[in-house]
């Protein structure tokens, strides 16, 4: 199959998927369309082409790498249109929820007690509510007395924050004065741009 047709096929598959569609699925479904062996790198190249096509200002969608798959979402620049229509505010997390979420994201696997040590405040209710919102999940139990639950972020977390995987989290900012020795790992640059280039997988 010629390249432009394959490109169309891939776009169709991504569009037809409700959840971010994984590379394996694309290989499997688009494979029938290909005469020879369809390789991941071919598909990846096509996806990059589609992505850059959509960067054109007249397009309202963007192709995002989310939670290990590919998904079309509306571009941020049009968010105001959709926010205007909305009855309630975007699912807004309170500060406590964002704090616990950040701690779990960067420190997982982590127990509730460890979260509470860090924040210096009871966090049981927040942990429960994040579990309910399916942003964090129970990973298992820690083999220490009491066998407390250990938590980690879920797939829903990646989907909500538009992350391909946890390596895409912004780097933690260390307090520079104390950590001068480790300057190499200090990531003061903010990674606000969701469209950053994907590192090789």
């Amino acid at each position: 199959m010629e390249n432009s047709r394959l490109k169309g096929a891939i776009e169709a598959l991504i569009f037809a998927s409700e959840h971010p569609i994984k590379m394996e699925k694309l290989v499997e479904l688009a494979g029938h369309e290909s005469e020879g062996e369809l390789e991941r790198k071919d598909i990846r190249a096509i996806i990059e082409e589609i992505r850059s096509d959509y960067e054109a200002p007249e397009r309202g969608l963007c192709l995002m790498d989310v939670a290990g798959g590919y998904q079309f979402r509306t571009k941020k620049e049009f968010s105001y249109l959709l926010q205007k229509l909305k009855a309630k505010r975007p699912p807004r997390f309170g500060r406590a929820a964002m704090e616990v979420l950040a701690i779990v994201a960067y420190r997982q696997p982590i127990t509730r007690a460890e979260v509470e040590d860090l924040r210096g405040v009871d966090s049981g209710a927040v942990v429960r509510s994040l579990l309910e919102k399916k942003l964090i999940k129970i990973l298992g139990k820690k083999e220490v007395p009491g066998r407390p639950m250990i938590y980690g972020t879920s797939r829903g977390f990646l989907e909500t924050f538009g992350l391909r995987d946890l390596t895409q989290l912004p780097s933690l900012k260390e307090f520079v004065e104390l950590e001068e020795a480790d300057e190499g790992i200090i990531g003061l640059a903010r990674e606000e741009d969701a469209g950053e280039k994907a590192p090789d997988v």
Partner: protein
């Protein structure tokens, strides 16, 4: 610019200390422990007055601060046997504050990231929307519990001057106050923080009203907006119940 409060839960003693450090422009590596302890205790007094649940953690921090303060008052041990470096009594606290600060900032970064259903949307989103309400809300910022406490402090100052000498037993119900706030919202649409306390004559009354307000904010029944920092806090019903 309007901004909005939604209190999920209180932020804790470390957050309070960071708030005070920021407010007084203190160098975190060299905290004047006497000043910070005094400031901290003022807040604790106010929270005690409100009978807030979180006392335990805050009291523990009070003890820690007192301990550090007393240690710093002691003259350095002039002891040749202990040749290891005298540790700054504040070191452990500073370490905890920095660690907490790191994740607090990380949570702000997370907040700024593009988020599904806020910045990017999926197909089918429009169907999920209840068009009934199209109230426009500008970019909002959180107001912390501490900001509300500052406002409460002003109210309490004015109430104290009207202290009566009569001794009478009054029963104040937070539940009634909650109903009262909801009633006036129904009538007026929006009210100011200050106006909630117009009819309060005693400290107990003020406290009950304030607790009712916190409870309503917590359950998302109402919203508190503030035009600018230290501006008038306005309260409306959250409008999602239609």
């Amino acid at each position: 610019m309007d901004y909005q409060v939604r209190l999920d839960s209180f932020e804790g003693p470390l957050d309070l200390l960071l708030h005070l450090i920021r407010k007084h422009e203190i160098d975190i590596m060299n905290i004047p422990i006497a000043l910070i302890t005094e400031q901290y205790l003022q807040y604790i007094e106010m929270m005690k007055l409100l009978n807030l649940d979180l006392a335990g953690e805050y009291i523990l921090m009070t003890a820690t601060l007192m301990h550090i303060k007393s240690k710093m008052l002691l003259p350095p041990v002039d002891d040749e046997e202990s040749d290891e470096d005298e540790e700054d009594p504040r070191e452990e606290l500073v370490r905890r504050l920095l660690e907490y600060k790191k994740y607090k900032e990380a949570s702000q970064d997370l907040e700024a990231m593009d988020r599904l259903d806020r910045d990017n949307f999926l197909k089918g989103y429009i169907e999920e929307i209840d068009r009934a309400e199209g109230k426009e809300e500008d970019a909002c910022h959180d107001v912390s519990l501490f900001d509300l406490l500052e406002a409460l402090n002003d109210v309490l100052k004015s109430v104290r001057t009207f202290k009566s000498h009569e001794v009478e037993l009054e029963k104040i119900s937070v539940k009634e106050k909650m109903d009262g706030i909801l009633d006036s919202l129904k009538k007026e649409g929006a009210i100011t923080f200050q106006s909630l306390f117009d009819t309060s004559s005693t400290k107990g009354d003020v406290v009950a009203t304030f607790l009712a307000l916190l409870e309503l904010i917590k359950t998302n029944a109402i919203r508190a907006f503030q035009g600018e920092t230290f501006g008038t806090i306005r309260i409306t019903s959250s409008g999602t119940i239609h």
